[in-house]
Amino acid sequence: MYCYLYDTFTQDGKNERELTAIEHSITDLGLQGKIVRLALFRDPAEAIRREVAAGVKTVVVVGHDRTVAQVLDVAVETGVVLALLPVGSPNVLARIFGVPEGVASCDVLSQRIIETLDVGVVNGKRFLSGLRVERGQPRVRSQRGYSVLAAREAPIEVRNLSTVPPSTPDDLSNPTDGCLDVIIHTHTRKGLRRVEHQTCVPLDRATIEYDAPVEAMVDGEPMEAATFEINVLPKALKVIVGRERMI
């Protein structure tokens, strides 16, 4: 049983033709389900909990990456299968999951290939892609008894998938290995040339500390803190993916 969750922006007139085509395809494939339209003061989590209690097994997000971020918590908590019919942008997750835009996305839904992915947590907030801090000198303290220290200011990423749109599958971290990749970007100079370096440490639990609060972008949303407690929830989210997936 399917529940289709339409983001608010999909109700603009400019998406009407695309949505009509998608709805016809869903009907042709026999994948009909209840439609829930998000609105300004409607909590998507509450709507999904209600539908799951009524027997829904798959929640299909009709929207983009930020729509997925809105329902990530409730999808993990209820164990429902999450699918994506990409409309609007940014839709990096759809590309990673191998879900094409438009009517072709319905075929992916009908094929029902399910991957179970890890989900990251930072200061109690779940994330699917990753977090990135541009400024500050990070100190990463692993629960395994060692610290990784940047010698000076250095951008840091914590990746479950990627914090930037990937060009190839090699740009992605493995979201099924039970670890988050902590990446520290440093550089040295050789004459006038700037040489970039990348430290990569796979960790399941760590603390990233700064001397003063810094801004992190977590799945595209800002979070400010001086200490970031991170951990991974292994195999916490079931998603429907296409054959052309990057993971």
Partner: protein, 117 residues
């Protein structure tokens, strides 16, 4: 899930220092500094600019930089021309390039012998 080639590999790059006892189940590349013991379940590569002030254990080792400590390698160790090892080494197969410096005792086990420790 499609396989990923680089999954689980640890890289400590230049400009980064590790403090404490560091362990990894996979391969480890060190180009930065390490103060503490290092153990890799897979292969370890120590770059030209790397300085490790600690005991090291790995399945295979390629050393191009500096290690100050006891080194225990299960299989093969390769010491490059600019490498420095200040400490004891136990290994099965050893390759030493001209110019490499070793100040310590080398213990070589046969293929069918288990290493001590």
């Amino acid at each position: 899930m499609k396989p990923k080639a680089s999954g689980g590999e640890t890289i400590i790059a230049e400009g980064v220092k590790v403090e404490g006892d560091f362990t990894s189940d996979g391969n480890v590349t060190i180009e930065g500094m390490v103060h503490g013991n290092v153990a890799a379940g897979g292969d370890m590569f120590v770059g030209e600019r790397a300085v490790i002030d600690a005991d090291v254990a790995a399945k295979n080792l390629v050393l191009a930089g500096v290690i100050k400590g006891t080194v225990r390698v299960e299989e093969k160790a390769e010491l490059g021309p600019a490498s420095t090892l200040q400490g004891d080494l136990s290994v099965r197969v050893l390759s030493v390039a001209p110019g490499a410096q070793i100040n310590g005792t080398i213990t070589m086990a046969r293929a069918n012998e288990k290493q001590e420790g």
